[in-house]
Structure formats: C-alpha cells, structure tokens
C-alpha cells in the first residue's frame, strides 16, 4: 500500500490512520466515553454519591418507595435506600467482578492455550478436546452450580463464572501461539539455545497480547452481564452488596407501581455492557482491521 509520496507508510502513519478510523466511528467514541464514566464512578464512588451510608447497608424506612425527585434522583427502594447511590455503587461491584472474571479466565485460558499451542502433539489434543467439551456445556448453568456450591459471596461468583469462561481464551491463545511459533525470530531464539519457557514468555507471549487484550475488552461487557444474570437468579449475592443484577431481581416485585426500583438498575447494566461492546468493536478495528466486523 504505497501512498502519495511513494515512501513505505511509517509506523506513525499507520497509527494515525487507525486513530482516524477509530475517531471516525462515533460509536467507538461513545463506547469509550461510557467506559470512562463507569471507571470514574467506580473509583470515586462513595465520595460523589449523595447517600454513601446506604451503600454499606444503611436504611431509612421512613422514606420508602419515594418516586424520583430532586433529593432522590432515582427514587428510593423498599428500605428507603437511595436507588441512585446503590446503582452508582453497583458500578464498582460490576466492574470489579467483570474484570475479575475476564482476568482469571484470560490467565487460565491463556496458560492452557499457550501450553497446548506451544507443546503441540498429544498435549495439544488432550487440552483442546477438554476445551471443546467445556464449550459445549451450558456455561450459565455450570456457573450457577459452582457458585451455589461455594456459597454466597461475590468472590465465589466471580470464580464460578470464570470457570466456564476460560475456554474462549484458551482457543484464542492456542491459535495465536501456533501462528507465532513458526515466526523467524522464534526459530532464531531457539537456535541461540533459549529454553522453551524463556521463548514462550519472552518472545511468543508479548507478541500475542493484542488479540488477547481485544478479547478481554470485548468480553468485559458480557462478563458484567453474566455477573448480573447470576445476581438476578439470586445465587451468590450477599446483602448488603449493591449488585445490579440482584437489585433488579429484588425490584421485580415492585413493578409496575414502583417502576424506578427496577428500571434504573436494568438500564445501568444495559449501558455498561453497551459501552464495553462499542469500545471492544472499536479496539478490534484499531488493532487488527482485517478481522471481519
């Protein structure tokens, strides 16, 4: 792809073009904006929230089921807690839980995939058959079973979901490692007598990071959705954790009269997942444009 002045496009121009493409699609920018706002809320959470005491379980039963007003932006719930504060606090919970799921899955899946890809032979077959089998099993039901067995608590829930989430990363990592394994610089490193683990860690892994990062950003949205789904079914959530899924599930009984207790947590889940999806799509176009939309 030679351009006007015939010189081969420098790395900087490639970047410039990708940034142009990223900026060009308004959706990716919207995604980035939502994710940044989400992170801001998650970090600054309890300082910027009108009723911080409600987050840790404080109640005010005198003000039960107040509709949205200037005092309570999203109205109050069955115990008089400010729904806006709970939803804001829920951002931190969901973000951390979602990130936890994606991180654990990436590590476990990454290791298994790297090992399978690099070792090849029967190790590859065994590990990949196991991964394929895990993919055929219903992930949500497995996650529920594990979470219920481990007992209530966000950490158990995150672990349970990541147990059925890692196969995706394993497959991706295996494909990337197999592709990079044959590259010249890896052969050269092996020729220089580098040990297998050194090659894998120093040479191969750094070069497969970008597809992994893209998948992590894309999966973040769906991880948040999975955490909310489990919360919705009521497995693994310990009061007073303000987790969006459980907030929505509790508020189900108050429809249609106290609609705000359900609608706002639901919208929060929707926007968070939408934000990460848009950002993920944008990043995918940024890093490897040849991947089909």
């Amino acid at each position: 792809m030679t351009n006007h002045n015939g010189a081969h496009p420098s790395r900087w121009q490639n970047w410039q073009r990708s940034i142009y493409r990223f900026r060009q699609s308004g959706l990716s920018i919207a995604g980035l904006a939502i994710v940044l706002v989400l992170m801001l809320i998650a970090v600054a959470g309890s300082w910027i929230v009108p009723f911080p005491e409600h987050i840790s379980g404080g109640i005010n039963t005198a003000a039960r089921f107040k509709p949205p007003s200037s005092l309570y932006w999203f109205g109050t719930n069955e115990l008089g807690q400010d729904v806006f504060s709970l939803v804001m606090a829920g951002a931190r919970v969901s973000l951390i839980a979602g990130f936890g799921v994606v991180m654990i899955a990436a590590i476990i899946g990454g290791l298994i995939g790297a090992l399978a890809g690099y070792a090849g032979g029967w190790i590859d077959d065994v590990l990949m058959r196991l991964t394929d089998l895990m993919l055929t099993l219903p992930s949500l039901i497995l996650a529920m079973a594990i979470a219920a067995a481990l007992g209530a608590g966000l950490d158990n829930m995150v672990f349970a979901i990541s147990m059925s989430w890692w196969p995706g990363f394993a497959r991706l990592m295996r494909g990337e490692v197999i592709a990079k394994k044959e590259d010249l610089f890896v052969q050269a490193a092996r020729a220089l007598g580098a040990s297998d683990s050194r090659i894998l860690l120093r040479h191969v892994l750094p070069n497969v990071m970008s597809p992994i990062i893209i998948k992590m950003s894309l999966d973040m949205g769906f991880a948040i959705l999975a955490v909310a789904a489990l919360g919705f079914i009521g497995i693994g959530v310990k009061p007073p954790t303000p987790e969006w899924g459980s907030l929505l599930s509790l508020a189900r009984g108050y429809l249609p009269d106290y609609w705000w207790t359900a609608i706002f947590p639901g919208l929060a889940i929707f926007f968070a997942v939408l934000g990460f999806n848009l950002l993920g799509d944008g990043l995918r176009d940024l890093f490897d444009p040849k991947a089909r939309r």
């Binding site: 039960r64 310990k238 007073p240 189900r252 009984g253």
Partner: protein, 523 residues
C-alpha cells in the same frame, strides 16, 4: 429509487411470511369451560403427597382436600368442628378421647372409613416420626389408639395435652387396603408420594410438578353441603408480583404469598377482595445463647435495645410489633409485658457492662436466600448494630443448610431468623416448640434452655384450670423476656387476595394459606 422500493416490497413480504408461523392473534379469550374451577396461586411446590411425611403449607392445603381428619377447625377464634368423627367425648382428667365416626364416611374407592383405618393411620404416623408427627410427639404412642367397634375409636394420651383436638385437623386418615397393597419396603411411602388413598371431597386429576396440580371433585362426596366447585388448580407462580397480577387479571382466583407492596397495589383494583387479618404467625431473631459472643446476657440486652423496631415494622408493612414471645391476642398473652424498645442509651449502658464494652466485633446472621422479608430484617439489624460499632456478616443460605446449621450451638450462627406459624390456636404450640429445651437442635429452638421455663411450659400443658393456666404463661413470658434469647420481631398479618366471585371463604387464623376448597363456590 424505484428499484429500491421493489426490493423493500420483497423483503417485507419475506418477513411477513416468516412471522405467520408465529401467529400473533389478538388475545383470544379462552372461554372457560362451564366447569367451576378455582385457581389458587402459590409459590411453594408439593414434592410429596404422603399425608404422614409431607411438610409445608402447600402440601397441607392439597392433603386437606384429598384426605379427611377426625375433626376440622374453622372460624376466628378457631372452633373444632366434626368431620370424620361426628362427635367426641373427653374424660374428666383430659387423658382419654372417644370418637364416634360418621356413618356416611367412605373412602374414594367406596370402602367405608372404619375405626381400624383411624388406628392404622395413627400407628403409621407415630411409626414414621415424619411430617406432622411432631405435634403429638410424646403424647400419642403405639398403644394409645384402640378400636372400640367399627365406628368408635378410643385414644388414651401418654401425657395430658389440652390442645389435642386442635392438632387433629392436621392428622389425616388413609385407606389401609390401598396402602397395604402398595406397601413396598418403605411402609408405602414411595407409592403415597404421588398416589392418593383418601376419602377427601377431591381427587388428584393432573400433576405437572413445578407447574400445577389439578384437583377434581369426587363424583359423590360422602359429606353433604359444600360449595359448587367442580375442581381446583394449585398453580405454582414463583414471583409474588406475578401472583398479584394473575388475580388482578382474573387468571387466578386466590393468591397466597403476597407482600405488603402487593396488597397496596391491589387496594382499589376492580373484582379483587383483599384479606389482611392478624394471625398467630410470629417472626423473631433467635440469638445463639450457648456459643459465641451472644452467650453474654448483657450483649444480648444491649442489642435488643439497639435494634430499630420501627424500621422493622415499616419494612414489614401490614404487621404489628410482637410484645414478648407469644403472639398478641392468643390465650395467656400479657399485653402489659415490658419488652425492649429502641433505646440507645440503655443499649450503651448494657454494652458497657458486657465483655465487649466498645463493640468492635463481627457477628454473623443467616437467612433463607430468596425470602425477601428476612433479607430486609437482616439489613435493619445490620444498620442497628452499626450504632454499637458491631459489624454484621449476612449469609443467605438454602433452607436445608440453615436447618442443618441448628444441629449444635457451635455450628449455629449468632442470629437465626425464624417464622413460627401456629398450627393450633393455643399458647402451648408456640411456647413448647420455641422455648422448651427438648426442642434444642431443631430450627424452632436451636439452643435456648432454661429449666425454670421448661417446667412452666409443661405445667401449662397439663393445667386444665383456665385461670391457673393464665398465670403460668404470664410467669413464663416474664422469665423469657428476662433471658432475652430472641429479638422479638413482628406478627405479620396474613395477606391474601381473592377474586370477588369466590364465595364461602371463612378466614381462620390458623394456617389460613392451607385453603379448604370444599366449602367454596364460584359465582
């Protein structure tokens, strides 16, 4: 542009064609069959139909209509009414009961209900020691029941029990011939799990576990009278809001598990009758008096005074605060009893005398996961304990796990919330189950034991003189309040919603959600 329109026409046509096979037809009103079928919405499934094994209000409701007990209980305050036994007499010392069986009573396979059937049923109940057997534990044993003649039964109690007639409505009579034919190796339990051998006015017509159970009226019920119902459907609807909407839209005639919010939503809806009545159904938080920080009486007192009773009442909606261990209005209840109220200064005072004068400890509370009311009370407790600088770790658990955790004091959490539904309108029911040390290790009274209180309870059980019985229970209540084994909670009012075309429903404050269909009819 023209060519683009033709393309649109093609695409639209393809979509319409596709949509036809998921036909969207305006809400065709399924015309109700001429039969009169009562639809009851409940969130509790009925995994087992064996009358001597099953537990839970939904099982009691269906069994009550499929089988018959010796006597029924009806009205407010609950009165014992004849049923299989047309009459019964009690010996002066209250130890011997003689029942005269109704001549017309017959099982649904045609064979008459004889004294032998009654003995067979009681013996099986005592033998299995499951289901409602706990109600007559230690009172009726293998040789209590004897057959006088085909239509007369004599029951000699092992110990005096004033409220015995009130317990009988939950002890059903089974058809010995059918059960013997299908005895199997477990005394007929497997067969009776999903088959019926009763004399009730209804038969089990259709069972879709997890979805619905349909009862159909027997061709010629032996008991005369009753409503014009030809059948009833016990429909499982998990979400209380869905139950409320089902009644609102006429898809169900009764909803049994409504919350206060549901009742508010139903207030002025056409065709809906709301029933909000006090009932002998206590809710309190048991404290672990034997193990852990709460063994210290001063800490228990401090917490009892720090607890935000008003917040609990607000979140419970249609309810009233309990005054002491016994439900308000029951025989022997002392309305003037002095019980802890939210008083932070007293709480701090007791706290300073306790082993942890400035708090700084972490206590645990378990509650049934999915039970909304208990979750709210747990949060009220968490908020109240903050004032004493005590942290609360709330653990939602599955009911079987919770029951298992009450087996021994060290396994039990610091706080253990308990609903106690009176099966019969007598103080002994709550007192014995919730405060007698023989019940330790069970979820009703996991750990609390006080010999003085045990003696008072047993005395109350045997005392036939009403006035003396009254003073016994007054002393008992004072002693229990002094020991502060529980945080006394609320008496939740029973919240039911009926369609206006349901007739003949009489509210009975005892297990009113176990609905009896026989007297009911539909307009």
């Amino acid at each position: 542009m023209k060519q683009f329109k033709s393309l649109l026409r093609w695409v639209a046509m393809a979509t319409v064609l596709g949509a036809i096979n998921t036909a969207v037809v305006p809400h065709a009103q399924a015309q109700t069959a001429p039969r009169k079928i009562l639809v009851v919405a409940s969130n509790q499934d009925v995994p087992n139909f064996d009358p001597h094994v099953a537990t839970g209000y939904s099982a009691s409701a269906l069994l009550r209509n499929l089988y018959d007990p010796l006597v029924r209980v009806e009205g407010n305050p609950p009165q014992v009414k004849p049923h299989l036994a047309e009459s019964f007499s009690v010996s002066p010392d209250g130890m011997e009961y003689i029942f005269k069986l109704d001549g017309k009573a017959k099982f649904n396979d045609g064979s008459p209900v004889t004294a032998d059937a009654v003995k067979y049923s009681f013996d099986r109940l005592v033998r299995l020691k499951k289901g409602n057997a706990w109600m007559i534990a230690g009172i009726v044993d293998e040789n209590s029941v004897s057959v006088v003649d085909a239509k007369t039964v004599k029951i000699k109690l092992a110990k005096p029990f004033v409220a015995f007639p009130h317990v009988l409505p939950w002890l059903w009579i089974i058809n010995p011939k059918l059960v013997e034919d299908n005895k199997g190796s477990d005394d007929g339990q497997t067969w009776l799990k999903s088959n019926i051998a009763g004399s009730g006015a209804f038969m089990l017509k259709r069972a879709e576990p997890g979805n619905l159970y349909e009862l159909e009226k027997v061709a010629s019920p032996w008991k005369s009278g009753g409503g014009n119902l030809t059948g009833a459907i016990w429909r499982i609807i998990r979400e209380t809001s869905n139950q409320r909407l089902a009644v609102q839209r006429g898809e169900a005639h009764m909803a049994l598990d409504l919350t206060s919010e549901d009742m508010d939503a139903l207030k002025d809806k056409p065709g809906v009758v709301s029933i909000i009545e006090p009932e002998f159904r206590t809710f309190s938080i048991k404290l672990n008096t034997e193990h852990g920080p709460l063994a210290d009486i001063n800490l228990r007192k401090a917490i009892s005074y720090a607890f935000n009773y008003q917040a609990m009442l607000d979140s419970a909606g249609y309810a009233q605060l309990m005054v002491g261990p016994l439900p308000n209005g029951i025989f022997g209840h002392d309305p003037k009893l002095v019980v802890p109220t939210t008083d932070l200064d007293k709480a701090k005072e007791f706290l300073s005398k306790s082993k942890v004068p400035n708090g700084g400890i972490k206590l645990t509370m378990v509650h049934v996961s999915g039970l909304e009311q208990q979750r709210r009370i747990a949060l009220v407790l968490l908020d109240s304990l903050k004032k004493l600088n005590i942290e609360l770790d709330i653990k939602p658990m599955v009911w079987p796990d919770m029951v298992a955790s009450t087996a021994s004091p060290d396994k039990m959490a610091d706080f253990f919330p308990v609903y106690q539904t009176a099966n019969y309108g007598d103080p002994d029911n709550i007192a014995f189950a919730a405060y007698h040390s023989s019940r330790n290790g069970n979820w009703q009274n996991p750990v609390y034991k006080n010999p003085k209180v045990d003696a008072l309870i047993l005395a109350g059980r045997a005392e036939t003189d009403q006035a003396k019985r009254q003073t016994i229970y007054l002393d008992m209540q004072k002693q229990i309040v002094e020991d502060a084994p529980d945080i006394f909670g609320v008496l939740e009012k029973r919240k039911l919603a009926l369609r206006s075309d349901v007739q003949g429903f009489i509210f009975t404050p005892v297990a009113s959600n176990a609905v009896e269909f026989f007297p009911l009819s539909l307009k």
